[in-house]
């Protein structure tokens, strides 16, 4: 390989066919005299512009577009040299760092010698070692192309905002399960908003047996094993549900506050009493109607009960998870859009409450297709305010444009699976820790289950890994009409 050109932070390297280099590979451009080396990553492979190639190709197809038949007597065997030159490729590489005395710096301000520099492939284990991508809490993400393991440190997810995105069926949920299981293994508290019931068997092996984290997984299905008694609720949590999930206007919310005080004074906070109080409350008819419609929404959700024994205390689950680590899976499958928002509003309100009072230290929140249940104002809340409380969110989506641009800008880690759609790639490339060329070029060619890891977990050295298999029962499979027929 030979250094050919440098433009900005992209170097072009000429590579001959026997040097097998692919997109995503790292190369070390070593200038011994300068005592420095460049670490570059191949982001695109193109044919080198060899003079005469067009003539060569045209010559082989002169007979009406079909190959002309003939015999080449080539006693000196020049033909292999011709194809060798013809197949030369030009590697477009992004400069990632400079190595000087085994120290890495992000500088690309110097130019290695074109004639003296030697270029060789940089094995991923060497890069991981140089970049110090290891740590005390390893999470093995999977295997890299050169058969080494890509291991990240769980602490690099701590306090971070993460995005897992990619086309359908590329392995996003699988990766999020892998991260969850490992975080739980390190005694972290994990909360999952499970839209399709994909995580409910996280505690089971593929053949249906209990796995190591069986006891640490708690699945809460709203209106089944996840119900709330009104008297266990704080007013501000309930007001949060009414205002944000059920869009109760401000005047009505003020009246509700009075109603709640009245119920509390009477010591009789039940659904039935709440309904009766609203009915008999001396207020404007429109306010009463507004309160009644929200009351019926709460009743119809089935999420609330007057039977305290039937109610589940989320706080208890969180406290249990705090001790030994655990995941609380909020199963939102078969839950209507309004109910989903009620549940999410409650869970988030409860989490903030627990974190504010230091009952909980921190929570890793995994949110699948969050746009389907997260209210507008929560997006900013999650990346700014809630992060300071200790909610570290991982968004999982196959529609990257449903996540706001400011979330991408503040994302610390992005786990990117295959995308072919230009628009999707454009959206993802807005992330601050990513350069657009890398995303566009590498993500487009990722095979299923291969993930481009970007951000702090890999110290800003984008790496591709095949996400390792996980012995967890697969759920959330798409129901198929022709399944039995095949």
């Amino acid at each position: 390989m030979k250094l050919y050109k440098k433009e900005g932070n992209i170097v072009q390297i000429l590579s001959l066919p026997n040097e097998t280099v692919e997109k995503g590979d790292y190369l070390l451009v070593e200038d011994v005299e300068a005592g420095r080396s460049l670490i570059v990553q191949v982001i695109d492979v193109q044919f080198a512009s060899i003079p005469g190639v067009l003539e060569e190709l045209l010559r082989s197809l002169p007979d009406g577009g079909e190959l002309i038949q003939g015999e080449d007597v080539d006693p000196l065997e020049i033909a292999p040299h011709i194809t060798y030159i013809q197949d030369a490729s030009l590697l477009f590489c992004k400069i990632r760092a400079t190595v000087e005395n085994e120290n890495l710096s992000p500088s690309s301000s110097w130019l290695p010698s074109r004639s003296r520099s030697t270029i060789k492939k940089l094995p991923l284990p060497t890069l991981l070692k140089l970049a110090k991508i290891n740590g005390k809490l390893p999470i093995i993400l999977g295997g890299t192309k050169d058969a080494s393991l890509l291991t990240i440190d769980a602490s690099s997810l701590d306090g971070r905002l993460n995005i897992i995105t990619g086309k359908k069926e590329t392995g996003k949920s699988h990766l999020s399960k892998l991260l969850m299981v490992n975080l739980v293994g390190y005694k972290a508290t994990v909360v999952v908003f499970d839209l399709n019931g994909e995580y409910i068997s996280l505690g089971m092996t593929a053949d249906g047996k209990r796995n190591a984290c069986f006891d640490k997984i708690r699945v809460l299905t709203p209106s089944q094993n996840f119900k709330l008694a009104l008297k266990q609720l704080n007013l501000h949590v309930l007001l949060g549900i009414l205002i944000h999930a059920l869009h109760l206007p401000g005047t009505s919310a003020r009246e509700f506050r009075h109603i709640w005080q009245s119920l509390k004074e009477r010591g009789n906070i039940t659904l039935h009493e709440l309904g009766e109080t609203i009915r008999n409350w001396n207020c404007n008819q429109q306010v009463r109607d507004a309160l009644f419609s929200r009351y019926h929404a709460l009743v119809n959700s089935g999420f609330f009960t007057d039977n305290v024994a039937e109610a589940t205390l989320l706080e208890e689950c969180l406290l249990k998870a705090r001790e030994e680590g655990g995941a609380i899976v909020i199963n939102l499958r078969n839950t209507s859009s309004i109910d989903r928002q009620i549940v999410v509003e409650y869970v988030l309100g409860k989490l903030v409450e627990s974190l504010t009072s230091w009952t909980l230290k921190a929570v890793f929140l995994f949110a699948e297709e969050a746009h389907l249940y997260l209210r507008e104002t929560y997006w900013d809340d999650i990346v700014t305010r809630m992060r300071h409380f200790g909610i570290f969110t991982t968004f999982i989506t196959n529609q990257p444009d449903t996540i706001r641009e400011n979330i991408y800008r503040q994302a610390d880690n992005i786990f990117l699976f295959n995308f072919t759609n230009e628009h999707d790639l454009d959206v993802v490339s807005r992330a601050a820790r990513v350069d657009a060329e890398t995303v566009r070029s590498i993500a487009r060619d990722l095979p299923p289950h291969h993930c481009l890891v970007l951000g702090k977990v890999v110290r800003d050295f984008p790496m591709v890994a095949r996400v390792r298999a996980l012995d967890v029962k697969t759920m959330g499979e798409t129901r198929l009409f022709f399944k039995d027929m095949n």
């Binding site: 060569e56 002309i68 006693p75 000196l76 020049i78 030159i85």
Partner: protein, 341 residues
């Protein structure tokens, strides 16, 4: 078709390259055009402007063509490194087929040029050329001479192997030059005739003029295809014209070429041969496709030149040197590069 490997060519090529081991090597390339450097006296030349009309004869006949090319691919301290390649193309049963010989790479020096040239002459034509010709030309003429030698050998092979076909040569049938001794051309044409073949030689360029105009520009308005006959062309000895010279306008458009047809063939057969060519080959801009393909297949592309340079530097351990271009050095942007011719 005789496909015997030109063994001597290969051996001499390899032998010459052995001498080049571990020398320094200046990469520069220069292609050579086959241009007739001799002057044909055309004061007495006249052109009969009454066209000979042609009708394509569709009866199947083989059409074959030969061409060769050569290129200098670099210099050593002792001489030059050249590549030579030849191609024969023939059309039979509506399909084109080809045999391509080479590239052969030669390292030519003042010391070995005579040896190489004479050895090739002897190997292919069993005799040295006419005594009145310089048997080994100067170094700069060597690439063209070696390419000519290969081309003549391939022409001879076609003449020997094809029956009742049309054989197309690139250039004229003028002989008596260093590249084309009279005896050798007579031998090729005679061999072709014996097997019922007729040789048609197309010149892409001509310097023959009538009243100051190039003969290929004096085209009557008649609908092509047709031939215009020339008369009175005389050559200065020792050059001999072994063909009758025509202007061939074979398709619509303003392209016409000088066409030499074996003089020993009766006029009817000459015209019939061109008509068979019309009926059996594609013609674009009055030029036969078979000959065009032969030219395309033997020409070196830039990629091939790179590959040959790669071959000799790798296989023979040449050290590449970058000798400055004196034109560039002295005249800067006004220096257009060194020229060979």
């Amino acid at each position: 078709m005789d496909t015997t490997l030109p063994q001597q060519f290969t051996e001499l090529s390899l032998q010459s390259l052995k001498r080049v081991q571990n020398q320094s090597f200046q990469l520069n390339q220069h292609s050579f055009q086959q241009i007739n450097s001799f002057e044909e006296h055309s004061q007495s030349l006249s052109l009969r402007l009454e066209p000979i009309p042609l009708k394509p004869i569709r009866k199947e006949n083989i059409v074959a063509a030969v061409d060769s090319s050569t290129m200098k691919i670099g210099e050593t301290t002792q001489g030059i490194v050249i590549a030579v390649r030849g191609a024969s193309v023939w059309k039979q049963s509506k399909n084109y087929r080809y045999i391509r010989l080479g590239p052969f790479i030669f390292h030519l020096t003042e010391e070995n040029k005579r040896e190489v040239y004479n050895a090739l002459e002897k190997a292919y034509f069993t005799s040295l050329p006419d005594q009145n010709h310089q048997s080994a030309p100067n170094l700069l003429q060597m690439p063209m001479r070696i390419a000519s030698l290969l081309e003549r050998w391939m022409q001879m092979m076609l003449s020997k192997t094809i029956n009742k076909g049309i054989i197309l040569f690139d250039g004229s049938l003028t002989s008596g030059t260093a590249d084309m001794p009279v005896g050798r051309m007579k031998q090729i044409l005679g061999t072709a005739r014996k097997r019922g073949n007729i040789v048609l030689a197309f010149s892409k360029m001509t310097n023959l003029r009538v009243n100051g105009y190039l003969i290929t520009d004096l085209l009557p308005e008649d609908t092509p295809p047709y031939l215009l006959e020339t008369e009175g062309l005389k050559l200065k000895p020792p050059m001999v014209l072994l063909g009758d010279v025509y202007v061939a306008r074979l398709t619509k458009g303003n392209c016409a070429f000088r066409l030499d047809i074996d003089r020993e063939v009766p006029i009817e057969q000459k015209i019939e041969a061109v008509e068979k060519l019309l009926g059996n080959d594609l013609l674009t801009q009055s030029y036969p496709e078979t000959l065009r393909l032969a030219h395309i297949l033997c020409t070196f592309t830039a990629n091939e030149v790179l590959a040959m340079q790669h071959f000799i530097t790798r296989r023979h351990g040449l050290q590449i040197i970058n000798r400055p271009d004196m034109h560039r050095l002295l005249f800067g942007p006004f220096g257009k590069g060194e020229s060979w011719s």
